[in-house]
Symmetry: C2
Subunit: 313 residues, 2 copies
């Protein structure tokens, strides 16, 4: 059902004289990176913005109020709410008491907006509406950043699936989660993850404490006195291939065994396609993907990726 | 008070005809590395061994019984126990109802004995009494082991304090714990720790996942909506020296800050003397110590250390 006519009708009569506040707020939200309710952005829709101005009365009053928002914040202009909602912001639709207009807003975009409002109130400057747009990062700058961070950078690169953004991005965010889970499951440590998608190629970025681990890992067994289990555990590992040694620690059998994946790259190359991925992303990744490490990432020349990369490091 | 005369008297009359079982058991315990109740070994004393044979009747019966022991195992030959004990094995002293003869036995030595008994019962061979004594490891063999494990080896070396073993070893075990705590506190990961002490030099060994960490670490702050705390946290890090960047993640402010110690060696060099160490060990460490890494450990030529090192890797 297209709700637009009902929304337009509700807004039209109430927004008169506040059109500039709405325009100002939309640009302010763009400046904070939180405008747009597509599944890529998970931010504020135009209708939500209009309702905020109607509810609070002006741009300034909205900014002041939002700077003290907490998750669970509920606004119900018509006082006709019929349902409980679990989203960080609940803006009950004035034309439909069961609907949350802010349902698409993620927790982080909700918080980024709060933060943006607070910073603006501290020093109201034009940069909050028109932030400087970062330049694509050059190879040399990227090398310098890597040298100063001394972390491991990984880029999983594959062909961009030919679907609309609202189908693509939820699958990319799912893949981002799946990659992080995989890496943690095999004892690597994620610092952060990110997603970038261009016309031809799509990238899942991961920054790790280290992309390599030693050959051995400890397998800690049952306490020695839990006889049946302990004996079974010992029999499994003692003298087995790829077992370095065994000893008793804190009353438990411990064996030093060969680690299956000593590099994050090797782990992805073997396990990524078995992760839980969305349909189109899975199809594309199955056709082939590449894992670039550190300096190899400079293979990617796309200027919009290079802008993403500047913010990343 | 010297209890020896009472112990001798109790044992003498009851051990007749079982002297060989006692000798056999002591050698069996030596073979398993659990004989000796000094604070270095934390194993079975001679008196405890004699009481085990008296209680169970023979070497073989003791071995069979011990293979099913559980921590909290209590033996009270005179049925006159007066106190609760928390040690893994409680052998109530027949000449003193308040005393646990096995008070010095550690959980791991208790478990090693259980394991030794089980293995012996599976295949009763002479090696359980006279195990092969390992040869000192050569540099080349140590390099090969390091290459196959791909972990980081650290040796903290200092002059052996001039005190008896019963004073020294508890302090060394304390230092071993302190070193492991320090390393974990600063985000490094310990695989195992060990202690070796010779006439001139003493060594605390540590095997780590990695002896280096990246320059940055994440500081995760309060949720953005906990306004006062969140603003304080942000003010502390934003634009501060040695801060790489900040963002919002899962509703919380996160800043990437400079890590204080990026090498385990640097951490020890600066913080070890501030750790909780025993008196004589602290004095010796304060006079000076050295942290050897990986191949540098071959600087230590002591043949008894090299035997320790063979078992270590």
């Amino acid at each position: 059902m297209d709700r637009t006519p009902f929304h337009n009708e509700f807004v039209k009569s109430r927004i008169r004289g506040r059109e500039d506040d709405v325009l100002l707020m939309k640009q302010f939200m763009r400046g904070g990176g939180v405008y747009g309710s597509e599944l890529k952005t998970q931010g504020f829709s135009g209708y939500l913005t209009e309702l905020l101005i109607i509810n609070y009365g002006s741009f300034e009053k909205t900014v002041k109020a939002a700077s003290s928002w907490k998750p669970g914040k509920k606004i119900d202009i018509m006082q006709h709410s019929e349902l409980e909602h679990s989203e960080p912001l609940v803006m009950v639709d004035p034309t439909d008491p069961r609907r949350n207009v802010a349902a698409a807003l993620s927790l982080d975009k909700f918080c980024m907006f709060i933060d943006h409002c607070r910073e603006f109130l501290k020093s109201p400057e034009v940069k909050f509406f028109f932030p400087e747009f970062p330049l694509p990062i050059e190879d040399k700058e990227f090398f310098e950043k890597m040298e100063s961070r001394k972390t491991s950078q990984l880029a999983i690169v594959f062909e961009t699936p030919d679907v609309v953004d609202d189908v693509l991005y939820p699958q990319l965010y799912k893949m981002e989660q799946a990659a992080a889970s995989l890496i943690n499951e095999y004892d690597f440590s994620v610092i952060k993850t990110g997603v970038w998608s261009g016309e031809n190629e799509t990238v899942i970025m991961l920054e790790l404490i280290s992309a390599t681990l030693p050959n051995l890992k400890k397998r800690i067994g049952p306490p020695v006195w839990v006889r049946e289990h302990a004996e079974k555990f010992k029999a499994k590992y003692e003298g087995a291939e790829n077992v370095f040694g065994g000893y008793i620690e804190d009353g438990k059998y411990v064996f030093e065994v060969q680690r299956k994946y000593t590099t994050a790259k090797g782990l992805f190359e073997e396990q990524l396609v078995n992760s839980s991925l969305g349909k189109q992303v899975h199809q594309s990744v199955s056709k082939g993907f590449e894992v670039l490490e550190d300096a190899d990432i400079c293979r990617l020349k796309d200027q919009s990726f290079r802008v993403f990369l500047r913010k990343w490091v």
